[in-house]
């Protein structure tokens, strides 16, 4: 094989000179033996899989031996091994899983390793779980086995935390489930006791049922309710009476009273104690779920930055943990990979998808010297970057910190309940004490006085109060979900009902977020149709947002667009296509100028994107594209204004663009040029002045603002981060849903207030009866049942939402 022989860039075979097809790709010339190979090459590069060509080795089959033998730290690996019954366990991510066959292959090979007891690979999460005998197998060998298959095993730091959270959730679930099963039994016994109270009951039968009720209630109180006691003990030690203390007090009082009544004869309250524990546990479980999702948002944010990076040391490539990168390190980022840390581009030119970072739909061309943010996706070519800061100080980490901070600041509804409890608990205890002294003063026995006081404690416990909010929230969120409106938790529903100011992101929220053609300006002597058709032909094979905008317009005008194959893309500049009638260029002003096309001085609108077109040496004209408002934006904003909500726009775009796009919408404040931190600060400032603010956005750059706002709202189609950090999600990208959400929130708030009123009235009546020593158990039972019925029935009204009025 002489050096003069040319080989096909795809299949590697020698090319006959007559059949050679040359093409320039990413600033170098590539040759193919046939059109098929050329097509395959383009498809592979188009899918961002260009590394295929670097990592294969012809003529030997399979992957190069050293391709994945990148220095994985044995110490770091050992730190990830957990000891489980029957061996050690290693959890890691496997990169490069594409189909079920990959899963099958990895599992087979791993389980054939000596010492490996079990190997499981989750297809959806790409997470492998390998159980092995530490005496025979070692984690390095497991990694090596995966790497030898051509997959990239990677340690996953978030794994341990996730396992911990999962374990906590399971524990809570088991407690709640146990409480529910036992409470169901208890309910049967209570029914018999209540029936016996009215109809009379044989004493021995009653005692039997009472004993059984006590038996069943005991584990509910002391096993399922254990967390309340520890919480109450903590709050006592800190001298800060909380909700836990109130619950523990009520439960213990009811249980203790019943125990005494069981021995001395009398009515028992075991069902009260058990039901309080069960209902409050349900509330805790729901809250735990909401917290879980919030934590996931932050984790996903950090997951955008790859955990490993390829560091260049001289000629060698080393795979290192991203956290090991220091400012000044050279890193190689291949197409299809995300940038691990903030860096400047040193070598190479490529387009980067910054959509998750800035919400900007168009890929951005970066040249040597340009700064690149962590988390952006390299699209075209392998580039060398110089890290400018450590991973912990990078854009993504700062963003995650901002989100975390904002989420921590937001007072959860639990704290509100605690605030009420700090007043309510001492009050109830005082009332109980007053009852004892009052009855002692009246000269009844000490035991009777004490019993009356305990009755006060029992009825004070917020059973219907505990139901008042959750059930209304549950019904309202269920009804809203059927319309594609998802409230993350009950406090969100309340806050939506109280909103005073709504702040919008511009791109992708008020607007479609995709460029559409707004003007076709042909050069003199050319028709608009010719111009558009030429451009559409060249762009027909492209997935670039601008190309899609042009193709959409051509389709809208009913033009038949011949499929132009063999177009050549110059990243960030434009596209060129050779066809029968000469070379057609479609691209920026600079692109055409560089190719020697004289541009007629077309006046450019300030904020528009321009695409110039030429054929041969002739300039055909310019197509202008612009982002457009969603069709429903104006009516939805008008409906919000009618409901007395103030509006604002916070955009990272240029202020002039923001002004122009949002003119005439009745928006009070229009701010442009804002950084993510600016947006969050703006919202915090409005909150400080006493306004309740909602933020609506779709990009990662909105994430801190979404988390900082009282309600963060994301539209479907936004980035995952926006969806995770927001508390209200609209699954239809329709701002009209926002108006509906507002109406649902306001209605739910009204119903919750009514519920609280009823629950309080019954509690107050029962309290006064108990303090007066006139509380028969049947009164307590009736009050409890009635208040619960009122609350549930009232809440069910929310299921019938009014048809979208006032839209």
């Amino acid at each position: 094989m002489t050096s003069a022989t040319i080989q096909c860039a795809h299949c590697g075979q020698n090319i006959l000179p007559a059949e050679r097809i040359s093409e320039s790709f990413a600033d170098r010339q590539v040759d193919f033996c046939c059109q098929g190979c050329r097509g395959a090459f383009r498809i592979i590069h188009g899918a961002g899989l260009g590394r295929f060509y670097r990592e294969r080795q012809w003529p030997e089959a399979g992957l190069p031996t050293g391709a994945y033998r990148l220095g994985i730290d044995a110490a770091a690996l050992a730190g990830q091994v957990r000891s489980v019954p029957g061996g050690n366990e290693l959890n890691f991510l496997v990169e490069g899983i594409h189909c079920a066959t990959c899963v099958w292959l990895n599992e087979k090979i791993l389980s054939r390793l000596p010492g490996v007891l079990e190997a499981r690979l989750n297809y959806a999460s790409h997470r492998a779980r390998v159980r092995f005998d530490p005496g025979i197998a070692d984690p390095l060998a497991i990694f090596a086995a995966v790497a030898s298959l051509g997959y990239l095993p990677r340690l996953d730091g978030s794994d341990a935390r996730q396992q911990l959270r999962l374990a906590e959730r399971r524990r809570l679930l088991v407690r709640f489930g146990t409480a529910v099963f036992l409470s169901l039994q208890l309910m049967g016994f209570s029914l018999a006791l209540y029936a016996g109270y009215f109809q009379g009951m044989a004493t021995d039968a009653r005692q039997l049922v009472q004993w059984l009720a006590g038996l069943v209630a005991t584990p509910v109180v002391f096993y399922a309710g254990a967390s309340f006691f520890s919480g109450a003990w903590r709050s006592l030690r800190n001298r800060a009476p909380g909700m836990d203390l109130l619950i523990a007090l009520g439960v213990l009082a009811a249980y203790g009273y019943s125990l005494v009544a069981l021995i001395r004869g009398g009515e028992v309250y075991f069902d009260t104690a058990a039901m309080i524990v069960t209902l409050v546990l349900l509330g805790r479980l729901l809250e735990n779920g909401a917290r879980h999702r919030a934590a996931e948002g932050i984790e996903r944010l950090l997951a955008l930055a790859p955990t490993s990076a390829c560091r260049l040391e001289g000629e060698e490539q080393h795979s290192v943990e991203s956290s090991c990168l220091r400012p000044g390190d050279l890193i190689l980022v291949r197409p299809g990979e995300r940038v691990p840390v903030d860096a400047t581009l040193v070598d190479g030119t490529s387009e980067f998808d910054e959509a998750v970072v800035s919400g900007e739909a168009l890929p951005v061309l970066r040249k040597p010297g340009d700064p690149i943010r962590s988390g952006t996706l390299n699209l075209d070519a392998a580039v060398t970057l110089r890290a400018t800061c450590a991973a912990a100080d990078s854009f993504l980490a700062r963003m995650a910190a901002l989100v975390e901070e904002a989420q921590a600041c937001k007072a959860p509804v639990q704290r509100l309940a605690d605030r009420i409890a700090t007043v309510f608990v001492p009050l109830v205890v005082l009332l109980a004490a007053a009852t004892v002294f009052f009855w002692l003063g009246r000269g009844v026995g000490g035991a009777t006085a004490l019993l009356h006081a305990v009755a006060v404690l029992v009825v004070a416990c917020p059973c219907a109060l505990g139901l008042a909010t959750p059930i209304a929230v549950m019904v309202a969120t269920g009804a809203a979900a059927r319309r594609g409106i998802f409230f993350r938790g009950g406090d969100v529903l309340e806050q939506v009902g109280r909103l005073q100011l709504v702040a919008f992101d511009k791109t992708g929220t008020l607007t479609r977020g995709q460029p559409a053609v707004c003007a076709v300006v042909p050069a003199p002597g050319t028709s608009a149709e010719t111009l558009l058709r030429s451009a559409a032909t060249v762009e027909s094979g492209s997935a670039h947002p601008l190309a899609r905008g042009i193709l959409c317009e051509a389709e809208r005008r009913g033009l038949t667009v011949p499929c132009g194959s063999g177009a050549r893309t110059v990243p960030g500049m434009g596209v060129a296509l050779e066809d029968g009638a000469g070379r057609v260029l479609v691209g920026t002003r600079e692109f055409l100028a560089a190719n020697g096309i004289p541009l007629a001085a077309a006046a450019a609108g300030p904020a528009l994107t321009e695409v110039h077109v030429s054929r041969g040496a002739e300039y055909l004209g310019v197509i202008r594209l612009d982002d457009r408002l969603r069709p429903e934006t104006a009516p939805a904003l008008a409906a919000l204004l009618r409901r007395g909500v103030r509006l604002a726009v916070l955009s990272g775009d240029r202020p002039r663009t923001v002004e122009r796009m949002t003119a005439g919408l009745g928006i009070e404040e229009r701010c442009g040029g804002m950084t993510p931190a600016d947006k969050a600060a703006w919202i915090a400032a409005r909150q400080a002045s006493g306004l309740r603010v909602m933020m609506i956005g779709d990009g990662l750059n909105d994430a801190p603002a979404l988390a900082a706002a009282d309600v963060g709202c994301a539209l479907a189609g936004g980035t995952d981060i926006a969806l995770e950090t927001s508390t209200l999600v609209l699954t239809r990208p329709d701002l009209g849903c926002l108006v509906e959400a507002l109406d649902i929130g306001r209605r739910a708030l009204r119903i919750i207030r009514q519920n609280l009123f009823w629950a309080f009235v019954y509690n107050l009546v029962a309290l006064s009866l108990a303090a007066g020593g006139r509380l028969a158990p049947i009164h307590a039972a009736a009050a409890m049942a009635l208040s619960s019925l009122c609350v549930v029935g009232n809440s069910l009204r929310l299921a019938r939402l009014p048809r979208q009025k006032g839209r």
């Binding site: 189909c99 099958w104 297809y123 039997l208 059984l212």
Partner: protein
């Protein structure tokens, strides 16, 4: 009369214990770990069950 009630109650307790054990088993198995994902799983096009693949991909004997 009382003894029949007692027997019925004990029977019901046994039944409930059975249901409770099934619940515990389901929690252990991770049945409740992610209530969100299953509803999206049907939208996943290229998911095949790895369990079935062993038969399909094993080389013919």
């Amino acid at each position: 009369m009382l003894s029949s009630i007692l027997m019925l109650i004990i029977l019901s307790l046994f039944l409930a214990t059975g249901a409770w054990l099934i619940f515990l088993w389901a929690v252990r198995k991770g049945e409740f770990d992610d209530p969100e994902a299953p509803k999206y799983r049907m939208l996943d096009d290229d998911e095949a069950l790895p369990a079935n693949l062993e038969d399909r991909h094993d080389p013919p004997a």
